[in-house]
Symmetry: C2
Subunit: 403 residues, 2 copies
């Protein structure tokens, strides 16, 4: 069986976007590279690697890169040898542009896979060029960076920053389609979650049902793993957002924050809701109402042409009159993602972010409130449209009270 026929067999399963979409993405990235004076860019962020090639595997725990060079048609995938078949089955790349490094490079003290990457860059004649790396990307380590520089003494380096992330900020209709699928799954998972928070029930038993709903999806399409697992701080722990779960039980007279996502083919939709078991304190009820009002004000403001900080300002004005003050950002760009974050690290809804909203940008609007010993989260993932931010999910938005 030839490699070509093997690839043809695998393609219906893993290849999500057509060739034209990948060509469009690569052209947009190369355009920005040329503008920034970059000849060759090393992409380490797994979401960026997926965006440019379709590569999808849980192999980012070892160093790997996609290299984009202005003078080469395809991105070049370099990863661990055992993952090279994964690149064959999930990407649109020809065999010459998929390279696996030998296993003795993995997790050693004296040798690093980025040395192999430097040698391949040299072999292709790119070693004297203007190279860029993603200096704040997950999974590109300091040791990797030093090994790369040592292997490429004649190159000029600069920080690529979040160049690919910025290209990803405006979604294609195909991407929006996947996020709408994720939203359908998320509605189901969040309903499961709200029903599952019951006095005396173990947190882990409820999370088991949530994760099952996230992955089962709908009869039409399944769910993917999410870039962050369900977070559900409960009781006093609701004063902080990022705690997960234990096998303790939910208790009457306590709030539980549920921050969940769902994903379809790596594209995420996220949402937070807060459940209260019993009669909630008046302050919590009032705060939930103010948050809902501020959230709607932000959605209304999220039109093309508005800036990120203007959206935050709409929230701030609507909530300030009720005495609610929040220091942290109220949202961020969301889309294709791998652990540990479903945010895209580009736009934030906060003062000072003057990025102008465009149609088909997508945000997770999450104005979480965390006090000394309690908290509340209500959030929506929205699409920027001419009519304002369109929430992708359709669940009721208030505090979920179970008497």
């Amino acid at each position: 069986m030839s490699p070509t026929s093997l690839a043809d067999r695998a393609s219906p399963t893993w290849r999500v976007f057509d060739r034209a979409e990948f060509d469009h993405r690569l052209a947009a990235v190369k355009y920005r590279m040329a503008a920034d004076g970059i000849d060759v860019m090393l992409v380490s962020d797994p979401a960026n690697m997926n965006y440019l090639t379709g590569y999808d595997g849980w192999s980012f725990y070892v160093p790997q890169v996609v290299i984009v060079a202005l003078d080469h048609d395809n991105p070049v995938w370099i990863g661990r040898h055992m993952d090279a078949n994964g690149a064959r089955w999930t990407t649109v790349l020809p065999p010459d542009d998929i390279l696996g490094y030998p296993d003795h490079y993995v997790q050693q003290r004296h040798i690093h896979p980025m040395t192999f990457v430097a040698e391949e860059i040299t072999r292709r004649g790119w070693h004297k060029g203007r190279l860029a790396v993603e200096m704040d990307a997950y999974y590109f380590s300091v040791q990797g960076w030093e090994s790369l520089r040592a292997g490429l003494p004649n190159a000029t380096f600069k920080d690529a920053g979040h160049l690919v992330n910025w290209v990803r900020a405006v979604k294609s209709d195909a991407e929006i389609g996947l996020m709408r699928r994720a939203a359908r799954i998320l509605e189901s998972a969040m309903q499961t979650a709200c029903e599952g928070v019951e006095p005396g029930r173990r947190q882990c038993d409820t999370v088991a049902e949530i994760m099952s709903a996230q992955v089962r999806g709908t009869p039409e399409f399944g769910g993917d793993y999410t870039a962050i697992v369900p977070m559900l701080p409960t009781g006093i722990c609701s004063s902080t957002p990022h705690l997960t779960w234990t096998d303790e039980t939910f208790k009457a007279g306590e709030a539980t924050i549920l921050e969940l996502a769902a994903a379809n083919r790596r594209y995420h939709c996220a949402m937070a809701r807060t459940v209260y078991l019993g009669k909630p304190p008046a302050l919590m009820v009032d705060t939930a109402e103010v948050v809902c009002e501020g959230l709607q004000a932000a959605l209304d403001a999220a039109r093309p042409g508005a800036t990120c900080e203007e959206v935050e300002h709409a929230w701030r004005e609507a909530t300030r009159r009720h005495g609610l003050v929040k220091e942290s950002r109220i949202g961020y760009s969301i889309g294709c993602a791998y652990p540990p974050d479903w945010g895209e690290h580009t736009m934030s809804l906060r003062p000072g972010d003057t990025t102008v909203l465009q149609p088909n940008m997508t945000f997770h609007l999450i104005p979480g409130i965390w006090m000394e010993d309690w908290g509340i989260e209500l959030s929506e993932t929205f699409l920027v449209t001419e009519r304002g931010g369109e929430p992708l999910c359709g669940l009721p938005r208030g505090l979920y009270v179970k008497q």
Copy 2:
């Protein structure tokens, strides 16, 4: 309510180990720091942060550190302001040693949280010392490194390497207890997985059941999230280990590799099995038998005093006589872990690793075989004992054939 009483309320839920165990860990780490000429060490690996303080939250998507200084009793936790309460509820640290940086440091172009960390180091008078950072840890970025150095011009820096990981290599009885719990959960999850692989069934539906079993745990203890999601390459994709799932169906006449873990309070046990739907090819049946023979030979060799490479050699000798050759490592140290990896990045079972095995070390022994268009994985997590490697799980080891 005073912070002390709040902390007392939360402690039964999140605090897994007693104070004496944390004291022992910290002393062991400080001993190695002194031997390596390190005054102050910045720990970024979430598993290392947990090991030294108990901190447990999905906040590692933003920069955070635990600082260990020879001249200071406690580790110092620094993270995002909204996560500081998480440190209060999950760690044994006093309030003075928990610091949150303001939200405007998060995901900006012109400022980085490591600048805040550098300022705190200066405030504590550690800025002229011999500092060490984990240069190959996940979640410590190149930009973070450069911000830290810029903020500490009078410090001397070196690579801490995997200093804390090496201290973690030998587990306490309490840690082994958590891994045995994980093993009980994993047996249940793997049985669910093997039963769930059926012709015509969607992969996502089977994974939904697996993840539910992983998190539900047993009636006595619940499951935690695993550092890697279930991996189940199927059909031609079984030629590579790290693919996850789609909503395609399992097919008769195809193999599916199931590589799963379970976790209890961040402590992992991992296992791989291979299911074949129908009558498997003779080559696959024979290979499975050879793998089982080699795996047992490696287990028998895994006694205190043996080296990692001797364990691998036992596998190599047992399988070579059947013509099976494998280039990649056959196992690695496993334990407390966060995404993206349940391996500890210290010992590998491969030629050249001369680390001597000690009682209460734990390994995932996974001699995966990946060919051009098929593969097979059978693995065990084992504990080093005087009688050899003791598998923590008790499931049958051969190819799982469903006719």
